[in-house]
């Protein structure tokens, strides 16, 4: 089989290294995500206040409380559209989920993805982005970094977030 010799290929120029505290990609606005998941439907925003008991059930079952900053809409035929955020070690993700009346997922869309590095970022300013609270100074995230390869990032945090929302649906919204 190995009839021909291998040869090294020269790499043009010097390898460029980019150091970035983080990068961000915006995919969809809320309005666009609504059109993607429930096209042509009219959605009504609803406000939801959870009782202490409901909060504690969700925390217990899913290991984390639902976010206070999450936003919920309802279609005329009883489907739900929820915008939520999950935070990982390095990533902050805003996503939208559509839920059918039978509790199954219609679709999940990532709305924006932000990734950041450095202890300072992770501990303070980074976490403060969460929950819609005002930042002291905005993080400068590079929007030119794209087409990234490398160790595969797990979407585990997001999967857990979606499970939490489905739990919220079963426990509170479905009624």
């Amino acid at each position: 089989m190995r009839a021909f010799p291998f040869h090294l290929v020269s790499v043009p120029g010097i390898v460029l290294v980019v150091t970035t505290p983080g990068f961000a990609t915006v995919y969809l606005t809320v309005e666009q995500a609504q059109q993607m998941i429930f096209p042509g439907q009219s959605l009504t925003a609803i406000s939801l206040t959870l009782s202490e008991e409901e909060k504690s059930i969700i925390q217990k079952r899913y290991g984390a409380p639902v976010n206070d900053s999450m936003k919920i809409w309802r279609t005329e035929d009883g489907r739900y559209f929820i915008v939520d955020q999950v935070i990982g070690k390095h990533e902050l993700i805003t996503y939208a989920v559509g839920i059918h009346p039978d509790g199954s997922i219609a679709q999940i869309e990532i709305m924006d993805y932000r990734e950041a590095y450095g202890d300072e970022i992770r501990q303070k300013r980074w976490r403060r982005q969460f929950g819609g609270k005002t930042m002291d100074s905005p993080l400068e995230l590079n929007e030119d970094i794209k087409n990234i390869s490398g160790a595969t990032l797990s979407c585990r945090h997001l999967t857990e977030g979606v499970k939490r929302l489905l739990g919220l649906y079963e426990l509170v919204l479905k009624k």
Binding site: V17, M36, H90, G150
Partner: protein, 295 residues
């Protein structure tokens, strides 16, 4: 509502256990969004068919039954098995999709209760591909397509976007990338040494690129276990750093990263045979390359 800004539509969904991003350049934003939706659906289908974790997948059905009886599979699964067998033969068994046994032993894959056997001595050569897309195992074995299916899913998505006459597009499934069209795409690879740093790779045009690297977690500290396994020795293959392979298809790029991790510079001939190039990030941040076109 104008969904098509800058003549480019970019969407992202959680699939294949990672984030899959599809970017399409278009004249008609509505068509682009629809094409992307269908492309995501095709990736979801590959996930449904080929997931090791999912008890209802075709791979689970094969692992459960194919040693005892013939099992009919989808064209997609049949195609991936066919390519995996070819690569197994060409690499003398270094690339082997029957490493699920080792990955279960190391708790990197769940041990399904339906797997009655504990002795999985079969190898990829013991997978018989019969007419009418029937599959039969000659010996007990357990398949995991983790080393090849993600690349195949990207290829399927690209095919969908081409069939729908998109001018150009790029699909990135957690680092398994393929693009088509006139643009040269800048590609960055995560620096395996330092989080938050990115190394530049040669731009990609009408080609695919996949990267295998050890992630920044516990796997790095325990050299006895690793998601990559040498098909001949059945030993873990800790990736020295970050290995990227450029090839014509993403499935081949994905699969060849494992061969390069196993063989290092000796992978040159195999890479050349498949018209592929490997880029390995060295400790000094410089890139080493093997392979290339047959001259």
């Amino acid at each position: 509502m104008n969904l098509c800004l800058k003549n480019e539509v970019r969407r992202c969904r959680p699939l294949l256990g990672t984030f899959v991003e599809i970017t399409v350049e278009c004249e008609d934003g509505r068509e682009a969004h629809h094409a992307i939706h269908v492309a995501f659906e095709s990736i979801a289908r590959v996930q449904t068919l080929m997931s090791f974790h999912d008890l209802g997948s075709e791979i689970s059905e094969l692992n459960r039954l194919a040693f005892f009886q013939n099992v009919a599979v989808s064209p997609e699964t049949y195609e991936v098995l066919k390519r995996a067998k070819k690569l197994y033969e060409y690499t003398d068994g270094i690339f082997d999709i029957t490493i699920a046994a080792e990955l279960m032993d190391w708790d990197l894959l769940p041990r399904h209760s339906f797997l009655s056997q504990t002795d999985f001595s079969g190898r990829t050569k013991d997978i018989e591909l019969l007419p009418n897309r029937q599959v039969h195992f000659l010996r007990p074995l357990c398949i995991d397509l983790g080393g090849i299916a993600k690349g195949f899913a990207v290829d399927r998505a690209i095919q969908v976007l081409q069939e729908r006459d998109m001018q150009s597009a790029i699909v990135n499934a957690g680092g398994d990338i393929r693009c088509f069209g006139n643009q040269e795409r800048p590609i960055w690879v995560r620096d395996p040494q330092l989080a938050g740093q990115f190394l530049s790779l040669p731009a990609l045009k009408n080609a695919a690129l996949a990267t295998s690297a050890n992630s920044y977690d516990k796997l790095r500290r325990d050299s006895r276990i690793c998601p990559h396994v040498h098909g001949q020795t059945r030993k873990p293959l800790p990736s020295p750093s970050s290995v990227s392979v450029r090839a014509d298809s993403c499935m081949m790029a994905d699969a060849l990263t494992k061969v390069v991790i196993a063989l290092g510079k000796d992978s040159g001939e195999i890479l050349s045979h498949f018209n592929a190039v490997a880029f390995i990030a060295g400790h000094d941040g410089r890139m080493i390359c093997y392979g290339g076109r047959q001259s």
